[in-house]
């Protein structure tokens, strides 16, 4: 049994400062998953069902609950980003701390209209790139590769969109090509995450039967959704995760299964920061969607860039 005390190791957050970084990340993930399921998937699908107006009461109740989950997630994200700014600063990683602070300020300024979406996009991409280097500095290479590839996929997709929209140097075809490459990067990151994270944790490559069946079940659900209703699934993938859905369904199934293995392995073996980072990267998606989702990605990368993970991240 761990009992919180006032004494902490040098460079770590005091235990009595409220919620730990890890707890904040866990609460954010909970609220964000609820928001994803209810709002970004549930209501986006339900709104197109003919006759949904006939169940207006329950629909509004559920949608209201989803909006509350979203509001909770946004508030928790703000708290977590500020905590990460402090934690990174206390570990002497001022360039990472300043990056996270820079994104947060840019998001607030963009909301007030003080800066426009182009500057916000540029700041977001720069911060993601900086944090990607921070991840490679902080994590062992087996863990850093999938997380870094996710960050790179985000940056490629976002940069392509920015160059296309604001500079005119990219044609529509090139934009599509780059978008597809970023999706392939993200899928590769997910597929390799399972074996690499287990290798980085010193675990045998084959997970336990229970985890293996969970991963297989996840793959079956993802493949089933992609094959059974490709149009709706593709649109939801695009809107929620920035994925076009053009790759074979089995690839997405394999990626999902591998992510389940990597997240569960990290969470069970004293690397909750890595597990939280992977979940936040998944929730954030690829490319620029909203400051909320970019914030999830940045929080995930900053968590992964915190040295020491479970011992020091709260």
């Amino acid at each position: 049994m761990n009992v919180a005390t006032g004494s902490v190791a040098p460079g770590t957050a005091p235990e009595d400062a409220g919620f730990s970084t890890r707890s904040l990340a866990a609460m954010l993930i909970g609220a964000s998953v609820l928001e994803l399921v209810i709002l970004r998937i549930g209501t986006r699908t339900a709104i197109h069902i003919p006759g949904i107006e006939s169940v207006r009461g329950p629909y509004r109740l559920i949608a209201g609950f989803g909006r509350l989950a979203f509001a909770l997630a946004v508030v928790l994200l703000a708290f977590l980003l500020m905590r990460l700014v402090r934690d990174l600063h206390r570990r002497g990683l001022d360039y990472l701390s300043a990056s996270v602070l820079g994104f947060t300020l840019a998001a607030v300024l963009a909301r007030t209209g003080a800066i426009d979406s182009g500057v916000l996009a540029a700041v977001t991409i720069a911060v993601v790139l900086v944090l990607m280097f921070g991840v490679f500095s902080a994590c062992d290479r087996f863990v850093a590769v999938p997380i870094g590839l996710c960050a790179l996929a985000f940056a490629v997709a976002a940069t392509a969109g920015v160059l296309y929209r604001w500079t005119g140097v990219l044609s529509t075809g090139t934009l599509g090509w780059l978008t597809l490459r970023s999706e392939e990067l993200a899928i590769i990151a997910a597929v390799v995450s399972g074996p690499l994270v287990r290798r980085g944790l010193g675990l045998p490559p084959i997970p336990s039967p229970r985890l293996m069946w969970t991963a297989v079940g996840t793959a079956v659900v993802v493949i089933g959704a992609t094959v059974a209703n490709p149009s709706s699934t593709h649109i939801l993938m695009l809107w929620n995760f920035g994925l076009t859905g053009v790759l074979p369904a089995a690839v997405y199934g394999l990626a999902a299964a591998s992510l389940v293995v990597s997240i569960a392995s990290a969470a069970r073996h004293d690397r909750p920061g890595v597990a939280a980072a992977l979940v936040l990267l998944l929730l954030g998606g690829i490319g620029l969607i909203s400051t909320y989702q970019s914030g999830l990605t940045i929080a995930g990368l900053a968590l992964a860039a915190l040295p020491g993970d479970a011992r020091t991240a709260g």
Partner: protein, 322 residues
């Protein structure tokens, strides 16, 4: 299991209460603290009209939005999806809105010269009225209609008048007159037989697609270098009861659809997008490409310098073993 002291528990409960209170405040006040970063289509104001010219230089100053398309899968006949992306730009003058669609298409299909030949086509869709919720993208719904501008290739010069117009090998030894009386659909005012480059349509659900009460949308298209460029235009406030009033709404949802005739796409077999937001801005087109690249470049350079400094500091200090 962790056990915490009473002050810690109290502090945590207080923080939790603050988080929940802040979230409830956001929800009750209907405040959205996040900012969308997905591309929104912005129609900036221009002083001179582009006059339906797809090649007008002014179009290069309008910010493009690449809208991904997928096959229509909501209602039979399913299919399409041969066009994966369409580029959309928009500008407006004091009185008119111009929307330009462009997409790659290797074949020029402008004559339905046979029962299995179909023309290239494109459409833009708006909600018929601005609401807090968008209507179903597939032809709208009973309490939320849609307004569709439908362009078909070969119609810029008007619908073919004779069999010979449809097919150079066509021949007919009847219908000697070209008078409308001998073309019942045209005589009856059937919009399908009316020579308009763009048909203005309305719908309130599947199977309800019908011409709008007023046909006030103009259009012009060009096909070159295996690419279609189509310009739609309508008066900003030139709306009848079943059409969106673009002069009243600074932001409105817009979706697009494209048909590739050579791939036998027609009717429900088409490539469709989802709704994106079209903002009718009173400002002129931005000139900020270089500024943005500058911000991005400076950010990366500063980060690189800081990282180098960090690496240098680490090498010069003893390792933290905490």
């Amino acid at each position: 299991m962790k056990a915490f002291s009473k002050p810690v528990r109290r502090r945590r409960l207080m923080l939790l209460a603050i988080v929940v209170a802040a979230a409830l405040t956001l929800q009750i006040a209907d405040v959205h603290p996040a900012v969308a970063q997905i591309p929104e289509l912005t129609a900036h104001q221009i002083s001179s009209s582009v006059a339906l010219d797809p090649g007008a230089r002014l179009w290069t100053r309008a910010q493009p939005v690449a809208m991904p398309l997928s096959a229509q899968a909501g209602v039979w006949p399913f299919g399409g999806g041969s066009v994966s992306m369409v580029e959309v730009r928009a500008v407006h003058t004091d009185t008119e809105l111009f929307i330009k669609l462009s997409w790659d298409d290797e074949t020029f299909d402008a004559k339905p010269s046979g029962i299995d030949r179909f023309v290239d086509a494109a459409a833009v869709e708006f909600p018929s009225e601005a609401r807090s919720s968008v209507p179903a993208i597939c032809m709208g719904q009973a309490d939320g209609g849609v307004n569709i501008w439908h362009w078909q290739a070969g119609m810029s010069e008007g619908r073919p008048q004779t069999i010979e117009d449809l097919s150079e090998h066509g021949y007919v030894d009847r219908y000697p007159s070209t008078d409308d009386l001998y073309f019942p659909a045209r005589e009856a005012g059937n919009p399908v037989a009316t020579p308009l480059p763009v048909t203005d349509l309305v719908a309130v659900g599947f199977g309800t697609l019908a011409p709008a009460s007023e046909q006030n949308v103009q259009g012009r298209a060009e096909w070159s270098n295996d690419r279609w460029e189509v310009v739609f235009s309508r008066g900003l406030s030139d709306a009848s009861i079943d059409q969106i009033d673009l002069g009243e709404e600074p932001s409105v949802d817009i979706a697009v659809a494209v048909w590739d005739g050579s791939r036998k796409e027609r009717d429900g077999r088409k490539s469709v997008s989802q709704f994106v937001l079209l903002n009718v801005s009173p400002e002129g087109p931005p000139r900020q490409g270089l500024v943005m690249i500058g911000v991005l470049g400076i950010g990366v350079i500063i980060a690189g310098a800081l990282m180098l400094q960090q690496a240098t500091d680490r090498r010069s200090l003893p390792q933290d073993v905490s």
